[in-house]
Every structure is written in C-alpha cells, then in structure tokens.
Amino acid sequence: MASIIDIKEECALQVRDFEFTYKGATSPSLKKVSMPIAKHSITALIGPSGCGKTTLLRAFNRMHDLYPGNTYAGEIEFEGRNILTPKEDLIHLRTKIGMIFQKPTAFPMSIFDNVAYGMRLQGIKNKTELNDRVEKALKDAAIWKEVSDRLKHDANGLSGGQQQRLCIARAIAVEPDVLLFDEPTSALDPISTQGIEKLVIELKERVSIIIVTHNMQQAARVSDYTGFMYLGELIELGQTEELFVTPKEKLTQEYITGKFG
C-alpha cells in the first residue's frame, strides 16, 4: 500500500523492513519501514507528532542504544553492512553519521574546543591541524566571520542560531558521510532558520542529509526527497516536488492539504 519511489542514484543508506519497539511498549513504534536514502541529497521526513519520524532518525546513529531495553528488527544498510547488529562499533558509526539536535547543544567550553571536540576524540592532537580544520569547519558552517575573533570565548555566549551553526560546524569537522537533522530550526527565529536552511542545502555536496521537520514548507524548500510517515509507517516516499504537488497516497494528500495534523 505504501508508495515508495525507486531511487536510481547511489544510496547512502537502505532501510529494510525496519521495526522498532521502545522498552516496555506492547506494539512497535515503527512498522516494517523500508526506504532508500539517496547519496548527496536531502531527504526530509514529515508527519504528525508521534508518527515515528524522530524515532527513525535516531535509529540511523543508534542513539536509542543510550537507553537500554529498546528492540530493533529488520536492517539498515550502511557502507555494505547492517548497522543494527550488536557487533556494530557505535563510536565509529557515530563519527560517520553525525547528528544535529532540536535545541542547540553547545558544550560548556570555548567555541574552538566545541568544534575540536570530535577531532580530539579521534586522537588528533597536532595544533596546526586542529587550527586548520576548526577554521575550515567554521567557514563551512557559515559562522567563521562572526566568531573568528573570539574562538576562546565561551560558546554559550552565542545566540541560538549561532549555536546551532556551531553545532553543525562541530558535526562536519569530523567529516561524516551522513548528517541527521532533528528539527534543527524549531527553536530558532525566522532569520536564523533561513541561514540554517541555506547551509543545509550547501552541505549536501559533501554529505547525505536526512532532516526531520514539523514544517512542511521547510521540507518543500530544502529537500530533494520527502517521506511522509503516519502512525509508525512510511506512507509515501517520493521526489519532494511530486509528493507535494501530486501525492500518490490519499493520506499524504490529506496531510499536506491540512485536513489533519
């Protein structure tokens, strides 16, 4: 019944019959979800609250493992292997699949140390290399001009939009292949939102992006592919323009025209 587009280009991730059950829940929160995630493009996940879009997003970097008792079934293929197996090295996986959260999560340390955090975890100690890569990440995240003269200042002194761009700089500094965005602009003002959206579009040249959003216009503005989820199922996945203009499923049409939400 679900209408899933067949993606011709290379895929960054392949989700197959993925089921996810939270600890203590009697029924799964995600039911038999299958979808491809195209490389170097932006896939948006939309749907009403509680539809499972964030749950799906947090499965890609196994964030659910921080809270024991949840169960996975099915598979998510990344770099030719199923990342849901117990032997998956989560530390390595999370350096390959980065995440940006709803609220900016600047660490209580200087701007420089924030961006260097992930690289230092990987054992990079060389000062010149750190300096160069921090500068590059901040430039790529379009925040270098605003912070270049106060890299040693506390990151919590930045505005919300700046902090979110700092978090993006921190995530891309470790050069991941995939970036997960969990409603990255829902805590920001319209101007900061615009900045982040522009940045997300620029970033797709280098990383594959999955973005969860409550805001349909945002999905329409930034994404190449959009998946509509409802009650734990992926109802439709298609090219963004097609999905918003000529949805194949009745549920999708009802949702995007505002009949429910």
Binding site: M63, L66, H92, G98, M99, T105, Y117, L121
Partner: protein, 280 residues
C-alpha cells in the same frame, strides 16, 4: 463588621505575628553574631597564630596547635570525602539512574545526612579507635569524611542531573565513549554546582565537635602526627570556654570567632560560585 473588613483584620493580625516572629528569630542570630564579633575581635592578636596551648596564666599561649590541627583534620577528611562523594554521585546520576540500587543509595544517604554526628563519632570510635588502642587524627578525619560524603554525593547527583540530556546525546553523537562524555561535558556543565557542594560539605564538617571528641580527641600542644590525638578548634574551644581561667576563655572566644568566619567565608564563596555559574 462586613466579610471584607474581617478578612482585612485577619490579614493584619497574621502580618503582625509573622513580622514579630521574624524579628525575634533574626534577633537571636544577630545577638549571637554581635557577641561573637565583640568578644572574638577583642581576643584576637598575633600571639594566637604564633604560640601553642599553654597552662593558664602563661603570656605566650595561643591557638597555633588547634588551627593546624583543624586544617589537617578537615584537609584529610576532604581528601577522603570529596573524591568518594563525587564518584558516588556520578554513579547515581550517570550509571545507576533510576535503578533500585541507586534509589536505595539515595535514601540511605539522606538518612546519613540527618544522622546525629555523635553517632558517627561513636561508630568510628568502635571500629578504629578501640582496635588501635588510642585516639588519632586519622580516626577524626574519617569521622568527618563520613559526615561529608552524603552531602557531596547528593549535591553531585542533583547537579549532574541538571545537565540537559541532549548535551550528553550530542557528545555521544560525535562518537564519544561514556567516560569521556562524563569527564569532558557533564562535569564541565555541573562544575559550579559540584564545587559549591564541596564547599558546603567542608563548611558542615568544619564545625563538628561531637565526632571529634571520640576520635581525634584533643591535645594542648602542636602536633602533626596523624597517629596521635590531634587538637581541633572546636574541641579546644569546648575545653577553653568551659574552663574557669579568663585567659583560656579569651582563647575560646578567639577560636569561636575564627571558626565562624571560616565557615561563613566558605558559605559565601559557595553562593558566589553558584551565582557566577548561573549568570552565564
């Protein structure tokens, strides 16, 4: 009298009584502080810091022995109690979370916090002083550390839990192992709160007398031997203040003043750190 007039009258009576009560309660506080400052200041002089205890009537008598003893006892207790308290608090917040064991530890620690300190003194007397056969600085420091641990454990636990979960998730999402997340992100976020807890813990034990009577006891002379009885400001104060000699009573006031200022200073510092942490 109308209903509204009646309510206004009741309101006034309540206001008068609560204001009076506040004045009486604060009055005692300022009375104590006033006498302490008056008598303490007049008893203060440089000799106090230069000379150790002497029999009554000697000019050259001071509190050097008790001041050093106090610093050694509190210092030792801090070096035992602070790491244990912080690590246990870290376990509760980051590992035990809502497990049965964690809840049991929290409950027991709350009970320990309100346990009379003399009971802890008696406990240390039974397990350390009795088998060793003599009083010692070690025993005193351990008794103080036991009193300190639950305070630091609970503040650490509370302060770590105040660090937003998303901050931890963000660090994990960058590929950080758990111990790194705790050391580099969670501790940093809770730094001010933990430091305040430590200072309040030290302030709390610095004023203890009862557990020391059983453990480090007292000595009228300067000593740094951790295996022997050791003087402290509190026990010295007790002995001097209750003696019939006026010069000893003077030293007792000086000890009371110094100790109060030390504890007041720690409390103020703790609050300042917390305020500075919040201001960010």
């Amino acid at each position: 009298m109308t209903a509204v007039q009646k309510r206004i009258l009741i309101n006034r009576i309540a206001l008068v009584f609560s204001t009076l009560s506040a004045i009486i309660a604060l009055g005692f506080l300022f009375w104590i502080l006033g006498i302490l400052v008056m008598k303490g200041m007049s008893a203060l002089n440089w000799n106090i810091f230069i000379y150790e205890g002497a029999p009554p009537g000697y000019e050259d008598s001071g509190l050097k022995h008790a001041l050093t003893g106090q610093l050694i006892l509190v210092g030792l207790a801090t070096s035992v109690g602070v790491p244990l308290g912080i690590l246990a608090g870290t376990y509760l917040s980051e590992y035990g979370k809502n497990s049965k064991l964690a809840h049991a530890i929290r409950d027991i620690s709350d009970i320990m916090m309100s346990a009379p300190s003399i009971v802890i003194g008696a406990f240390v007397y039974a397990i350390i002083v009795m088998p060793m056969g003599h009083f010692s600085a070690w025993a005193g420091a351990i008794a103080l550390a036991i009193i300190m641990i639950p305070i630091i454990l609970r503040t650490t636990d509370d302060m770590l839990q105040l660090v937003p979960g998303t901050l931890r998730e963000a660090a994990f999402a960058l590929g950080a192992p758990k111990y790194k997340v705790i050391l580099s992100v969670v501790y940093r976020g809770a730094k001010a709160g933990i430091l305040t807890g430590v200072l309040l813990g030290i302030a709390r034990v610095a004023g203890e007398t009862a557990p020391l009577l059983f453990t480090s006891f007292n000595d009228n002379f300067f000593t740094t031997d951790l295996n022997a009885a050791m003087p402290s400001l509190t026990v010295t104060m007790f002995n001097y203040a209750t003696s019939p000699y006026e010069d000893w009573q003077q030293l007792g006031w000086a000890a009371a003043f110094i100790l109060s200022m030390f504890i007041l200073g720690l409390n103020v510092l703790g609050r300042l750190i917390l305020l500075a942490g919040k201001g960010k």
